[in-house]
């Protein structure tokens, strides 16, 4: 039987809180360091410990690391789900299980390749502490897999060392556990023909393996974000927590003074209101949250829109409606973000598609927010935010911050006049001063009620209409400041695929699966839509929008913004909380091509 080399996936079934997470990461990073592209999908429950978790590592020389519903190899460590775990196994695949879980071969499905391994017994030789043994069992299956896959010793131990930098004892005991697994294989499975093999390559140079939330946190550090107020919520918490820990090393001066402030607020209403206060006072301020938080922030976000206060809201989307599935992914907050708050509000929204863009869009979001003086949303999702993605290395941002139209004392001196809400430049964006500016012209009054260009209270119909019209002009200006979409035209393609966000991960594979050249593609990076989006739609007989939500929210926006072509805009949604599977999409697309129109 010939081995599959560098193109397979392995699913490991454990319980959460058992330490398997770090073991899985070590295995994944080891494969990555062998020079082969990898990706990890962690399917975890919405509780803290003791419930089933499935971790899938995908390996692909082509860099196809989207989710695979089924794997060539499954490692079953959780008795509770042992039978369910077979759902994750490809026909003809190999099912490794912990034989110490006291399972009767007889109870397992017939004609499946089984490989029982007594993991608990193996852990005995590594430690006597029950606590430790529980943890080390995980490193033992890592060792077993490494040996079976024929992973090099040194890259493995290199990774372990890197993981436990400075913790010598932890390092060695983990190494021993891995060794125990390896030697078990050497002794007992000498001639065993394991179906998969890793061959080291050079395909991951200049790449990193990172979670979107970590990338976003770094982006915020380098974007000069100084104030964060947040209320914990999965899957956004790790974004703020890693921002804070990065800042402790990168943003603390020699005197130990902080050049940043992170305040855990009492709820999301206060979080966004602190951001409004800080943005008003001139700091680069942001909050991170998920759907339920956005639903609570509406009133203050409307105030920021209307009083023209910059701020960034980073929404790591999870599956709604309501509390929904807090540990599953979705793109379901698009309309809530775009139209957050009552009474004719609209907000720019950015859609990063990978860790590198998470890093870059942090700067982009603040430049945009301060340039146009409005709240800016960044929408990622649990898949991009919390799963581990392979990414190009980030470029150092040497472009200076764009702090927008802020008038300092000297400027006021020169100008001799200042009207907070006057459209001086005709782009709909007014000038502002910051509180504390030492000049008689500087002070103005900010409010969420009707006002004149001089920021005086007014209920006059004409003042109000002028104000709303200026905000519309500002919206047009925003369209010129947002990132261009990424279009790939395929000359004789009649159908265009539009997608955005984490969906990007599966597109190359999808196109290969579709086989023919009958598609052009366009990746949206922002709302409002850039005119290139219109051009793309115009150019094709029909356009399919791939969305990870139930009602095709982006499609709704496209249809209402491009009514002239709405009749050729169709939607293709997947909304079960799992990261997209390229096979599934390909299947759907073929259906649609065969008639069904997705209206």
């Amino acid at each position: 039987m010939s081995k599959t080399v560098n193109d397979f996936s392995i699913t490991i079934a454990t319980v959460n809180g058992s330490g398997s997470q770090s073991a899985n990461n070590i295995l994944m990073r080891t494969l990555f360091r062998s020079g082969v592209p990898v990706g990890g999908k962690n399917l975890f429950p919405s509780n803290i410990a003791g419930l089933p978790t499935w971790f899938t590592i995908r390996v692909s020389e082509k860099g196809f690391v989207g989710r695979r519903p089924q794997s060539e190899v499954v490692v079953a460590m959780n008795k509770e789900t042992l039978l369910q775990d077979f759902e994750y196994l490809k026909p003809g695949g190999l099912f490794i299980y912990n034989s110490n879980l006291r399972v009767e071969e007889a109870d397992l499905p017939p004609n499946v390749n089984l490989l029982p391994i007594p993991f608990n017994d193996l852990s005995k030789d590594v430690s006597d502490s029950i606590q430790l043994k529980k943890l080390l069992v995980n490193m033992i299956y890592v060792g077993v897999l490494a040996e079976l896959l024929n992973v090099g010793e040194e890259v493995m131990s290199g990774t372990i060392e890197h993981q436990f930098k400075g913790k010598e004892s932890v390092y060695s005991i983990n190494k021993n556990a891995v060794e125990a697994g390896r030697s078990y294989v050497r002794q007992n499975l000498k001639d065993y023909s394991f179906p998969l093999r890793i061959e080291s390559k050079q395909l991951t140079q200049n790449k990193i393996l990172i979670e979107g939330n970590t990338a976003a946190a770094l982006g915020l550090v380098y974007a000069g974000c100084t104030f964060v107020s947040w209320y914990p919520i999965t899957p956004s918490s790790s974004l703020v927590e890693s921002f804070e820990s990065q800042c402790h090393s990168l943003r603390t001066n020699e005197k130990g003074e902080k050049l940043f402030s992170v305040i855990q607020s009492e709820d999301e209403l206060s979080a966004i209101s602190m951001v409004a206060g800080a943005g008003w006072a001139g700091a680069r301020a942001m909050t991170a949250t998920s759907g339920p938080g956005v639903s609570l922030m509406g009133e203050t976000i409307g105030l920021m829109y209307f009083a023209e206060i910059p701020g960034v809201i980073w929404d790591v989307q999870r599956m709604g409606p309501s509390t929904g599935l807090p540990t599953r992914t979705s793109q379901g907050d698009i309309i809530s973000a775009v139209h957050c708050s009552h009474g004719d509000t609209k907000h720019p929204v950015l859609f990063p598609s990978n860790p590198k863009e998470c890093f870059e869009f942090a700067s982009l979001a603040f430049d945009l927010a301060e340039r146009v003086q409005t709240p800016v949303f960044v929408l990622t999702d649990l898949d991009l935010g919390m799963n581990t993605w392979i990414s190009d290395r980030f470029d150092f941002p040497d472009k200076p911050f764009d702090r927008g139209k802020v008038l300092k004392k000297e400027d006021l001196e020169k100008r001799g006049e200042f009207a907070r809400y006057a459209d001086v430049d005709g782009d709909g964006i007014p000038y502002r001063t910051l509180p504390g500016t030492d000049h008689d012209l500087a002070a103005y009054f900010t409010r969420g009620t009707g006002h004149t260009p001089q920021a005086k209270y007014s209920e006059r119909a004409d003042n109000y209409q002028d104000l709303l019209n200026r905000l519309d002009r500002k919206w047009e200006t925003i369209k010129t400041l947002i990132p261009h979409p990424l279009a790939h035209y395929n000359n004789d393609a009649k159908t265009g695929l539009i997608y955005f966000g984490s969906t990007d991960l599966v597109i190359p594979e999808l196109l290969e699966l579709l086989g023919d050249d009958s598609y052009s593609t366009l990746r949206l990076k922002a709302y409002p839509f850039h005119r290139e989006v219109q051009a793309f739609i115009e150019k094709h007989d029909r356009v399919l929008v791939i969305e990870q939500n139930q009602h095709g929210q982006m499609t709704e926006l496209l249809r209402s913004d491009f009514p002239r072509w709405a009749d050729k805009i169709f939607v293709l949604t997947n909304c079960d909380g799992l990261p997209l599977s390229p096979e599934f999409l390909a299947h759907q697309l073929k259906n649609i091509s065969g008639g069904h129109n997705g209206h």
Binding site: T226, L250, L269
Partner: protein
């Protein structure tokens, strides 16, 4: 024309013309704030006025129009002020709110701001009703108080002062919009306090809560008044004059002092929070309207101490200070390689 130490006249501390009902207690508070700012020679541009929504929350438009102001949304004055202070710690923040704004929709934000001890003056213009929405009871309406419409309040009222003490606030006082003598020194002291200085000011709503039976009417307030102390403000280097004979003094962080001449309760001690609670609870039971400084403690860490920020305001920092080196980014990425 008389000017103060920064060369400004009293009128330089004024603002737009009030649009409140004539006789509204809030307008008197506005003028006390103006007096305090003038007498303390506050630099207008250093001040940030922040409020929520309500008749009371409109008043920041009516004083110090040389300072930045922010009339935010209903119940959010507290977090908005917190954010502004963290962004620019040099701002002297005056927060003005109402009883509906702080005790109803904004109660959570109010309590948590006090826990964090955000350095600012927090004023509640308390009339026991929602003035701007035409006089419904607020959560500070006393049990048994009657509305103009005749309706009586049966829910236990929220006493913002005992609540503030409960939340660990180090400067807790109550006064009356009509009592300039007490309010002005109180405000001047509050302006020098490095932590949250909370002042609950009973401020009659002449249009909806000045009726007989309302416990926050001018008459009722005068009738049931129980004053702990009369007050005077003494600047850092100023001599203590003889009129403070027998007074006790509390010192602010800048060395200025608030003189407390005891009136109706000779042995009240502002450093004893339990005694303060006793006084407040008894006053509530006996339907007395007690004013004064209830609790003072300047040793509590405030949010800025807690945060260990650089001296320069965060809003003033540029990429030079804020953006770590190219090298640092490489190092970090090596870790993820």
């Amino acid at each position: 024309m008389a000017t103060n130490q920064v060369g400004l006249e009293r009128k330089d501390y004024g603002g737009a013309k009030s649009t409140l009902c004539s006789g509204c207690g809030h307008d008197s508070i506005t003028s006390h704030i103006i007096s305090a700012l003038y007498q303390s020679s506050v630099q207008p541009y250093q001040v940030a006025k922040i409020s929520g929504i309500g008749c009371s929350s409109k008043t920041p438009t009516y004083f110090l129009d040389k300072a930045a102001g922010f009339n935010s949304v209903h119940g959010r004055m507290a977090p908005v002020a917190t954010g502004a202070k963290m962004a620019n710690q040099d701002l002297r923040i005056i927060g003005v709110s109402g009883d509906g704004d702080s005790a109803s929709i904004g109660l959570g934000g109010f309590c948590h701001l006090l826990r964090r001890n955000v350095p600012m003056v927090y004023i509640v213009e308390n009339n026991g009703v929602y003035g701007l929405t035409k006089g419904q009871f607020s959560a500070t309406a006393d049990e048994g108080s009657r509305r103009k419409s005749g309706e009586t309040n049966h829910f236990s009222s929220i006493d913002l002062c005992s609540l503030a003490i409960e939340m660990g606030c180090g400067f807790v006082a109550r006064s009356f919009s009509g009592d300039a003598k007490q309010m002005v020194p109180l405000l001047r002291a509050a302006l020098e306090f490095k932590g949250t200085a909370f002042i609950d000011v009973i401020s009659p709503c002449v249009t909806f809560a000045n009726n007989p039976g309302s416990t926050k009417s001018y008459d009722s307030v005068k009738e049931h008044k129980y004053q702990l102390q009369q007050m005077g403000f003494i600047e850092p280097k100023e001599e203590i004059s003889v009129d403070y004979e027998g007074a006790t003094f509390v010192e602010m962080h800048d060395g200025s002092r608030l003189a407390l001449s005891k009136v109706d309760d000779k042995n009240f001690d502002v450093s004893d929070e339990l005694q303060a609670l006793r006084v407040l609870h008894q006053a509530r039971k006996n339907q007395q309207f007690v004013t004064g400084l209830f609790y003072f403690n300047k040793d509590k860490q405030n949010l800025l101490d807690e945060e260990h920020l650089v001296a320069r305001p965060l809003c003033d920092l540029s990429e030079v200070e804020l953006r770590p080196s190219r090298d640092s980014l490489n190092k970090i990425q090596d870790f993820y390689a």
